[in-house]
């Protein structure tokens, strides 16, 4: 999937992946796609809640070997 920006939060713990994602999102325009990579086991649920609350659109979540890759479209 093509992303307009990738935020690599591998190795970071809560709340840093979220904070990085928010900062990444701030740089994007509406409709752009953000790719998030995280190894925090809480990420999956965290990002689902974040996307919902912030009003963005969750496109996909991939999980492989403890690495979560999440694609979010900016509102």
């Amino acid at each position: 999937m093509k992303a307009d920006l990738t935020v690599d939060a591998k190795g970071l713990s809560c709340p840093m992946p979220l904070v990085r994602a928010k900062k990444g999102m701030d740089q994007l325009n509406s409709g752009d796609v953000l790719e998030l990579i995280s190894t925090d086991p809480g990420s999956k649920n965290d990002f689902k809640a974040w996307v919902q609350t912030a009003g963005h659109e969750l496109i996909d979540i991939y999980e492989a070997d403890g690495v979560y890759t999440i694609y979010v479209k900016k509102k």
Binding site: G11, L12, S13, C14, P15, M16, L18, V19, A21, K22, A49, W50, T53, A54, G55, K75
Partner: protein, 161 residues
């Protein structure tokens, strides 16, 4: 999507390291969720905001001087709420957290500032404990109960820590 605001307020009453870390994790997380965040620091919580190795130029009476000396100065001097063991517990906790790549309290505080978290020091508690404005970190607001409540009425999440 409606433009509904998810604002958060936290009353940080405790000056324990673990509770301070929890407070700032929630505050930075809430800011990342997109809402306005206000942290109201009162009583022992004010110690989190104190500058390190700084002696106030404020004229203090005996009790105020005692408070000033006995209370921790800043985030690196705080103890943990359980198993502190004269500071050893706090050191061990910091080590464990570093190993697990968890942000330190000063890092979280820096992050909160970057995310425009509104930090308010309770002026009444400052008066009680004899803490001068010059003793606290820069870039914060000062207020009383109404300042906190005003924000709390407009918030969906209100925590007392």
């Amino acid at each position: 999507m409606t433009e509904e605001q998810n604002n958060t307020t936290l009353v940080v009453f405790s000056g324990d390291l673990d509770k301070a870390i929890a407070s700032f994790i929630i505050a930075t997380g809430a800011a990342a969720m997109g809402g306005k965040v206000t942290m109201f620091f009162t009583f022992w919580g004010l110690n989190i905001l104190r500058k390190e190795n700084y002696t106030s130029s404020k004229k203090k009476d005996f009790m105020e001087k005692m408070f000033g000396k006995m209370m921790p100065k800043g985030p690196s001097k705080l103890g943990i709420s359980k198993m502190n063991m004269g500071g050893m517990g706090s050191k061990m906790m910091k080590k464990v957290m570093e190993k697990k790549n968890i942000s330190t309290l000063p890092e979280l505080m820096e992050m909160a500032k970057e995310l425009d978290v509104n930090i308010v020091a309770c002026t009444m508690s400052m008066d009680v404990l004899g803490i001068g404005k010059d003793e606290l970190i820069d870039g914060i607001d000062y207020g009383g109960v109404a300042a906190y409540l005003g924000d709390a009425y407009e918030a969906k999440v209100n925590l007392f820590i």
